[in-house]
Each structure stands twice: as C-alpha cells, then as structure tokens.
C-alpha cells in the first residue's frame, strides 16, 4: 500500500533534540523524504556525548532516543559555519517542501536562513520555527529544554505529593518536546493543505511552551474562579476517594485504583475482604471518605500490601472498579492490549542491533504509517543525497569531505557536548 506522501514531499530537518526531529519523523512515517541535516561541528546533541565510551564503541550511534525520533530519515552533515556549507544547504532548500528548525531565536537569521532568505529561494517552501519560548518577547532567549519548558508552562508547579511540602517533580517524559513536535506536524499539515490551494508556502512559528500551556487550562481557569493558586493534588482526586497508588507484595510493585461512587467503594471493599471497613461511618459517603482520606488510604494500604499485584488487580477489576498496575517500561511493552495491537515495531539499526520502538499511533487502513525504518548514522547518506538531489559528482563530494564541509566521523569534530 502507498504511503500518504509516497515520496513526493521532501522535508529538510535541521532541528535537534526531540520536538523538531519528531515532526520530521512523523513526516517520514507518512512517506515523505526527510533529510536530517547535522552540523559537522555540532551534531544533534541528542546523540549524547563522545565522552561516554571509547571511539571504537561509536557512542554517538548508541543513543536510544536519537535513534527513535530520527527514524526513516536520511542523514547528511554540513559545516554550517562555512560559506560552502550554507550554500549547499540553500541548494537543498531549493528542492524541498518543508524546512523544520528549532534553534534558539536569531540563530537561523545569523545562518542566513531566515524565512525571507529561504522563501526568496523557494516561495513554495513551508518553514516551521519551533523555539522554546517564541521568537520575540522579553524572555524569548530563555534556554529551554523539555523539562524547563514543562516548568514554564505551569506543569511542574502542579506536580507534587498532596503532603509533599511544596517539593515539585519533573515528569518522566519531558512532555513539552513531544507536544511541541505533534503541534508542529499538525501545523505543517495545515500549511501543506493551504499550499495546495494557494501555491505558496509560509512561515509558522510555534513556541513550545505555548503548545503545552493549554494542557493545564483547567488549573488556569480554576484560579480565575476561586482566586486561589491550585495546589498539587498528588495521586488524589479533588472530589473522590479512594483515588491513589498502593504497594503490593514484591519489589516496587504498585497499583493505581479509583472509586467514583459509593457502590464502587463497597464493591472494592468486598473484593479486598474489607467489609468491616466498608461499614465504618468514617467512610460512608463520598464526602466522609474524602474528609477521612488519610485513614482510608492507611486501611487500603494495609489490605493491599501483602497481595500479589496481578491477583489484586483481577479482584478489583472484577468488582467493577477502575485499576491498573503502575507499569515500569518492560510491563508497558508487555501490556496485553499493547501487544494485541502490535504497537511496538522491531528495527535492526546499525551499531546497536535490533530493538523494539514505539509504532505509529494513527492506524490508517489504506495508507499505513511507516515507523520501521532505522535512524541514519552521522553523515550516512551524504553521498546519496548530494549526488541524487544536487547532482554532485563523486569528485565534488570527495573534495567536500577533504575540506571538512561534510563528513561521517565524529573524530574530526569538536564535540557539541
């Protein structure tokens, strides 16, 4: 079956880290030809540091996260500090549909690749600029990475235990990055559709922090109605109890469970042999349970602590109560529903071998997304891309390599990290 773009759309991805590269990767899933450009001086920092292993181990080819979000791309290198490098990049701009960048504000202009310059070369080009905090405003130069973006969006301020004394925690997944990338794909798809109609490209600006703030709209609105700063609720619900995470037998095994109604609470208590507790007036009715939640959690913790997690979950779910294991990564991958739908895909990647990677989320029956093509090694496709796309001869490519405008070995570079 054909992919959506069937090789007819070309994306030039000069972004680094997660957000920008994810946008490029999702275009690769749709069958676009995606060229990942890395600077010969500053390769994508998500490849990690050269100091992590001896050179023969090729440490920068062993980054799990880089190898995930750059799947399906062709990798080239260019010295972006050199006139030749920029000139070659502009020739790639001329034959591309989309340019993805997430440099700090101003960098793209200093490289001579601001929207005015690239649209003069190629008016059909759609360019997306994905700075962390925007390209203007008094604090646009704030250095942003996943978890600092998450903080400035207000997410971290809400992440803490209900009794944690104000300590805040970073989420496990640098949420600002994938959320920025997903918005980027959406915006580019909108612009592609518009270009079909108008024949013209455009510039899209996406501040990653602005993409994440809507996710805490509820708390922002709550403040406007109550005048109070919403507190971190930890594992608790604002109205219902029980609603928490409880330890089971074994090493670091936990389950999450939640009751919305009195019936669910009685069923839960029955399933856990807690009939005596269920009859306790401190826990009769939603408001009583909420008012006595510490005592309720203590009783539940006592009842659950000695139980096998699987048995306990089966009992609770049979009683019609919402519950799940608190899954570490291997359990997520072994989840029966995830397995049944074959969500993860196996990919054999040079240097690291075969691993499972998250598949494409949208299941599109007649144009399935392709998430099973490995990420490129540094400069892996220099020859192919420069010859095919720009018509360079072997001699020209060898000369570029000799003078260091392109290359595939990190030894000749200053490390970015």
């Amino acid at each position: 079956m054909k992919t959506i773009f069937d090789g007819k759309v070309r994306v030039l991805d000069i972004s680094m880290g997660w957000a920008g590269p994810l946008a490029g990767q999702m275009f690769a899933e749709m069958g676009a030809e995606v060229i990942k450009v890395e600077d010969t001086h500053h390769f994508d920092w998500w490849r990690g540091s050269l100091s992590m292993a001896p050179p023969e181990m090729r440490p920068i080819e062993r980054s799990a996260v880089f190898n995930t979000v750059n799947r399906g791309k062709r990798g080239v290198t260019l010295d972006l500090a050199s006139v030749r490098g920029i000139e070659i990049l502009k020739r790639l701009v001329n034959v591309s549909d989309i340019l993805v960048e997430n440099f700090s504000p101003g960098v793209i202009d200093r490289l001579g690749l601001g929207y005015e310059s690239v649209s003069a070369i190629n008016p059909r080009l759609i360019m997306i600029s994905m700075p962390s905090f925007g390209n203007d405003g008094p604090e646009c130069n704030t250095r942003g990475y996943g978890n600092t973006v998450e903080a400035m969006a207000g997410v971290t301020g809400l992440t803490g235990y209900h009794d944690g004394g104000g300590q805040r925690y970073t989420l496990s997944n640098a949420l600002g990055d994938p959320v920025g990338g997903l918005h980027g794909v959406f915006a580019l798809m909108v612009a592609m559709r518009e270009r079909e109609r108008t024949g013209r490209g455009q510039l899209i600006e996406l501040a990653q922090v602005e993409a994440l703030i809507p996710f805490v709209a509820d708390a922002i609105l709550e403040y406007q109605f109550t005048g109070k700063v919403p507190a971190a609720r930890g594992n608790r619900h604002r109205a219902h109890a029980p609603h928490g995470i409880y330890r089971c037998a074994g090493d670091d095994n936990w389950i999450a469970l939640a009751c919305d109604t009195d019936d669910q609470w009685r069923s839960l208590a029955g399933a856990l042999g807690m009939e005596r507790i269920a009859a306790d007036p401190r826990f009769a009715g939603a408001s009583a349970r909420k008012a006595n939640e510490d005592a309720l959690d203590a009783e539940l913790s006592r009842a659950i602590a000695h139980l096998d997690a699987d048995d306990c979950l089966a009992r609770i779910r049979d009683a019609g109560v919402l519950a799940a294991p608190v899954n570490p990564a291997p359990a997520v991958m072994a989840d029966p529903q995830i397995q049944s739908r074959v969500y993860f895909v196996a990919i054999d990647r040079a240097v690291v071998g075969t691993h499972l990677y998250p598949g494409a989320v949208a299941r599109i029956p007649d144009n399935p997304l392709r998430a099973d093509v490995p990420a490129p090694m540094l400069g892996e496709h220099n020859r192919q891309v420069f010859a095919e796309m720009l018509g360079m001869t072997d001699g020209e490519i060898a000369e570029l390599e000799r003078i260091g405008v392109i290359g595939s070995s990190p030894r000749q570079y200053r490390s970015a990290s």
Partner: protein, 400 residues
C-alpha cells in the same frame, strides 16, 4: 485565536469530554467549520472545570475546549435524529468521535457504511484502547491511564509511592494524535485516494508514544529507571527541581558548556576540572556528590536571581512558576498569548491562545463555545433546509 486556513473543511464533531473535544478544537482554531453534535441533555463534558455559582451546566473547561465550534443537539437514538446526523455527514470532510468502540455502529452510523455512502468523508475515532484488542471496551481515568502507560512509575520519592502527573495531560496527547490523524485523512484523500478512511487512535498508545526515554532506553541499557526523588534520573547530567530560598527552580544541566556555566554561577569554576566531574561520565558516577554541592548553593538563593544569572550563562535554569505566574508572565503578555473570551454564561475568562502562529492569515478573535443547541435553527434550517415548523416539531419530540 482563530485562523481561516481550514475554512473549506467541514467537520461533524461527535466528541465529548477532553480527548475528543480538544482534537476538534485544534481544527476549529485553524478555521474548520466544526459542528458539535450533542444529545439534547448535553455532553458530559459540559460540566468540566470551575463554574459560576448557581450554574453547574457550563464548566469553564468546556467553554475553553469548545471555542470556535457551533453546536447542535440531536438524539441519535431517534430514527429522525440519525437521519439528520446522516444529513450533516453528507458533504462533510470529517467525522471525529470518541465514543466507546462499536457505539457508532450500534447507533446505525457504522463507520464503513458511512464512508461507503459518503466517499469523501473520513472518520477519526479516538478511544481509550483502540477499536480492537481484548480490552477495547475498557474504561480509564487519568490516574489509571498514567499508571498503565508508564508515566507514573519513574516519578517521586524512592521510599514513597510513585507520583502521578497532574490533570489530564495524556488525554490532550491523545487529542493531538487525533487532530494530526484528521489532517492525515484529508491529505490521503486529496493527494491520492480520492476517498476517505476510518482512522483509529488509541489514547493508551498515544500515552505510551511519549515514553521513549523509558521504553527504548531500557532495551539499550538494560536499566529500568526508578524514582530518584527531585532528580529526573541519575545520569551524565543534572536534571533536577531544586529548593531555593523562595520556592523551586528547575535545572537542566546536560552539556559540558552548561556544566561549566553552572560552576561559574556557583563561583566554583574549579569544579569543572575536578576529576569527579570533568566529563559527562564522571558526573554520572559522582552524581550524588554533585547534587549535594548544587543543592547547598540553591537553597540560599532566590529563584529569580538564579533564573537571571543562570540564563546569563546559557544554563537552562528556570524558576518553577505556579499557573498564576504563567498567566501573568511578561513573556506570555508580550506575545498576547492568553485570549480574553466574553462567555455568555461565565463572563470574562482568560484562556490559552492557539500555539500555532500562521503567517498566511491574520488571527481573529475566538467565538465562545456554543450553548446547548445554540445553532439548531441555523444548521438544521440553513444547511439541511428544514422549515421553522419542522424544527419546532423535532424539538417537541425531543429529537433536538
């Protein structure tokens, strides 16, 4: 804020609560003609978010999630209700829905039949677990979804229970995948096939999709990340939320340069060449010692001083703001990010604006979320050609 980029796209919106409603909001913000179809008693999400005293039927989160849409009511259990729904689907580009799998078919609006009948229509189904698999009919809430999808396990104190993320973050991620899927359906139709498709988006899979730090890294390293308290992890970096004199600050120190900057900030430049910390690898091996030094420095400083001085040295170091500070942040103000909505019931509310800034169109003010059945006459009369008396009769019969 609303753009007109998708003004030729017609969307029938059968969504409710968050994941569905935010997906169609993204389309509506880009100018798509989104008609939200609710049962005559309103979708469950109408009550989401804070309320004004005396009116529990319109929550402020609903008012945000449904900006820029028009609203009609239809009882899909009535034959006439289904006919009218089919009438709306005729000529529509997209149907977006987040019912439990199988619900559309049970209502007589089976996706395959609808697409066969209206070949240009695509259907995007957003559901908890996907349209198939042993648990396709399962229920979820945020706590359980985060736990199952892997977000919760690595967060919190090592000697305490894992800590769930706040609010409904993963529902919004599901919504984003749904909105992208809607655009993918349009692209597939217009660039190739000429006909629509039924796209299946699982919120659980969308949740897992963002967990690449865990799922892929653990296969590479064999190490399952566990709770490290205020530290994101023990690694060749220092990613940590630190207690300051007047609150908390977030530090993301990864590269050699950032570490040198941090040493300079602390007035301890010698640490950069200290054999315990002079490489990323050594900073991982001696992470506890490094954390102690940094903690001791931060606790005596104010977070805004740390922010200013840290950023001056190009260190990703930020104060951790409350949502109130986000709302009042000079940066969001300078960029006119928050939008003021004059809601017919809730009055003036400030809501997050659209993060996508297209240069092809000038942004316009958002339209408030529809009141229940607000556009019945406009849509059933204007688009489907029903007379006023026919609409009155439908109202009387409880169909609309």
């Amino acid at each position: 804020m609303r753009y007109r980029a998708l003004s030729d796209v017609r969307v029938v919106d059968l969504t409710h609560f968050i994941a569905g409603s935010y997906a169609t909001k993204l389309l509506a913000d880009m100018g798509a003609d989104v008609i939200k179809v609710e049962p005559p008693w309103g979708e469950g999400g109408r009550k989401l978010g804070p309320h004004r005293a005396g009116n529990r039927d319109r929550g402020a989160l609903f008012a945000f999630l449904n900006l820029n849409k028009r609203g009609v009511t239809l009882n899909l259990k009535h034959d006439r209700g289904r006919e009218l729904a089919a009438g709306l689907l005729d000529g529509a580009d997209l149907l977006v829905e987040n019912f439990a799998p199988g619900t559309l078919a049970a209502l007589g609006l089976a996706p395959d039949e609808m697409i066969a009948k209206f070949p240009r229509l695509s259907i995007v189904s957003i559901s908890n677990f996907g349209q198939d698999g042993p648990e396709r009919d399962g229920k979820l809430n945020d706590l359980v979804l985060f736990a199952r999808g892997g977000w919760t396990f690595p967060v919190g104190e090592p000697d305490r229970e894992p800590l769930t993320p706040p609010d409904s973050l993963a529902q919004y991620v599901g919504a984003l995948y749904g909105a992208v899927a809607a655009m993918q359906a349009l692209a597939a139709r217009d660039l190739g096939l000429g006909h629509g498709q039924h796209i299946d988006v699982s919120i659980l899979e969308a949740t897992v999709a963002t967990m690449i730090y865990e799922t892929v890294t653990f296969q590479y390293t064999g190490i399952v990340r566990r709770r490290e308290g205020k530290r994101y992890a023990v690694g060749p970096f220092l990613i940590v939320t630190l207690n300051c004199k007047d609150g908390y600050a977030g530090l993301h120190c990864v590269t050699d340069k950032q570490f040198e900057g941090l040493c300079d900030l602390m007035g301890r430049r010698e640490l950069a060449s200290d054999p315990r910390f002079n490489t990323a690898l050594n900073r991982m091996l001696n992470n506890n010692a490094l954390l102690e030094i940094v903690e001791a420095f931060f606790i005596g400083r104010e977070r805004n001083w740390l922010y200013r001085e840290g950023q001056r040295r190009a260190i990703p170091l930020v104060p951790i703001p409350s949502v109130v500070e986000v709302l009042e942040w000079e940066q969001t103000k300078a960029r006119n990010y928050f939008e003021t909505i004059d809601d017919p019931v809730l009055g003036t509310i400030r809501v997050p604006g659209t993060p996508l800034r297209l240069t092809s169109h000038r942004g316009e003010a958002s339209r408030p979320a529809p009141q229940l059945g607000e556009h019945n006459r406009e849509i059933f009369g204007g688009r489907l050609g029903l007379s006023d008396s026919a609409i009155d009769a439908l109202e009387k019969a409880g169909t609309i």
